[in-house]
Subunit: 136 residues, 6 copies
Amino acid sequence: MTADTSDDTDRLTRGQARLSEITGRSGEEVMAALGDVAPDFARYIFEFGYGDVYSRPGLDLRARMLATVAGLVCLGHAARELRVHIGSALNVGATREEVVEVIMQMALYAGFPAALDALMIAKEVFAARGLAAKAD
Amino acid sequence: MTADTSDDTDRLTRGQARLSEITGRSGEEVMAALGDVAPDFARYIFEFGYGDVYSRPGLDLRARMLATVAGLVCLGHAARELRVHIGSALNVGATREEVVEVIMQMALYAGFPAALDALMIAKEVFAARGLAAKAD
Amino acid sequence: MTADTSDDTDRLTRGQARLSEITGRSGEEVMAALGDVAPDFARYIFEFGYGDVYSRPGLDLRARMLATVAGLVCLGHAARELRVHIGSALNVGATREEVVEVIMQMALYAGFPAALDALMIAKEVFAARGLAAKAD
Amino acid sequence: MTADTSDDTDRLTRGQARLSEITGRSGEEVMAALGDVAPDFARYIFEFGYGDVYSRPGLDLRARMLATVAGLVCLGHAARELRVHIGSALNVGATREEVVEVIMQMALYAGFPAALDALMIAKEVFAARGLAAKAD
Amino acid sequence: MTADTSDDTDRLTRGQARLSEITGRSGEEVMAALGDVAPDFARYIFEFGYGDVYSRPGLDLRARMLATVAGLVCLGHAARELRVHIGSALNVGATREEVVEVIMQMALYAGFPAALDALMIAKEVFAARGLAAKAD
Amino acid sequence: MTADTSDDTDRLTRGQARLSEITGRSGEEVMAALGDVAPDFARYIFEFGYGDVYSRPGLDLRARMLATVAGLVCLGHAARELRVHIGSALNVGATREEVVEVIMQMALYAGFPAALDALMIAKEVFAARGLAAKAD
């Protein structure tokens, strides 16, 4: 087991920074959504999601976020999260084309409707960022 | 739309080669399983799955197969396919550590039981290949 | 097998009363939504859902509705039903805090996106009932 | 709402007969599996599943059971039930080829792994019934 | 394996015609939605979805589309696709009543919320087509 | 946000104790399964799953574990985890009857096959503990 002497303050601070780096959103935004219903859930997102899992070495962020996009397509119901993390994938260096490739590939595993819904979300994210239409 | 003048024979041949490159299995093995129940389904796997989708440019195979592992973890029920494609990920250059990272990360999206089941499958695949235990 | 001598009229009447007690909605409201497309489906909801299952002894309603909230979070796609039964849980004596605890706990099993979506729905239900924000 | 004056004894008797007609299994077999853990659940299967739903007019049994096979493929996790109802589809007049067509078609909606797993189950059911291999 | 000498142009043309026959939508509409994000995905829908799978003999279109409706109900998350294919089922000869029967039946396999959501979609599709309310 | 000054050692120790209290399994058993493939995943189970989430006040353990059973039934694919936590529910004071009630109730939300599979698992857990058959 990895020795981990960091205390919870470290995990929280590290997680909020990692959240911001990956998603482009601040911890304040997450807390604004959750603060009056489940503030500890925001804390778990920071500490466990970003401070623990997304702070791990062993895999580059671009591959991590493309994997997350793939996973969210296969869940089928995670439209909100998919929108965020298609953006995250672009933020950490994946191209528009790579995101589209991953989503299309998931049609093999989760079916065409899940992939089609995800492509419609990707289209919106790309448009909001002013990414030019695919030329082919 | 990409001009594609290839006929179906090309897709079948290209797909069987790609299947073999990625999974290490031959088209004959797939046909042996499916041939007496749904031979056309084997053909679709070759032509569409591997001849079309997995023959696309635009994303490297290592990122593709890590994304597939992620997607299969999130489906929850795809034990057979997960076993095959954890192997595929290793075949195309992903490391054991990278596969484990992707699976652990999916606990955030699909929950701990799906990730835990996938880690048990990964453990078997690694053992069958004589990959040494993680040292830490 | 439990002796059950009640006829269908009993199940229907008992079910509509139980539906009203749990959800705060009347059978008329359910029938208004379903009556011109599938009136028998409304009848099954009354007779089987509430007249049979939710009329069973053996578990108190508070634990039943917290379990239902947990189950609906794990389904992932059941936003409409989750909204109704977060309200039902409150109706039968669960506290706002208990509902939030159950939803957060499901992040372990269904992942963070499903739990986060459910918390956003809970927030709306709490607000509609004028339940004060969590103080901490 | 359909007037339904039948009492529960009617539903139970009708349901057990319908179960037997569709699945080829007797109510005794179902009760043998469930009787010492949840006998009322067996009763609900008889009364609601077969006495209510599968006793409805409005759709022929062959189309009903092919639809059930499709639905079970898309659930992904229902191997036991899929085995039973592939048999049911054959019992009520669907051909082996029709069952295979429905399963293959679901690859479009639920992905290839779910369809492939279902085809492997279908292969076993066909073999157990001595249905000859597809000739093509 | 079925000998299939058709080239990709055949599959594309056949698929677009089949799409139009089944869904009442033109290939242009599908391409309008996908063309600037993933035009090849539209091509796969035409070629593989409709040119391969939905062009197969061995099962009539009415049973095929009722099976698709059943499958989509069980996926739980496929609201967009369900709307399209409830329409497709009607287009190829299924009655309003048969569509409702299939959806209600899926409550047994996918639960009441998935079936209820599907019935609400069906109600909208029926209303848009001016199909009279169920009389009973 | 709850002030939480505990460091990670506290979370680990607290989590392993909580795991043992709830599941009756030791941290060593979990580590034996995961140690040579993903030891950090075992740590997350201890720290986050049991040290954070299952150590929260605000809901009694009996209601927590019944909710977990409900959630796992609705996931559909979590047989291994369901076996563990049917046991956990019994460990923390739920009765055999209450576990069965929760599982049967989930047939309304996740369908009969998921509930039936869970009842078969419950039957095995009850038998392994020598719990007498239901008398009715």
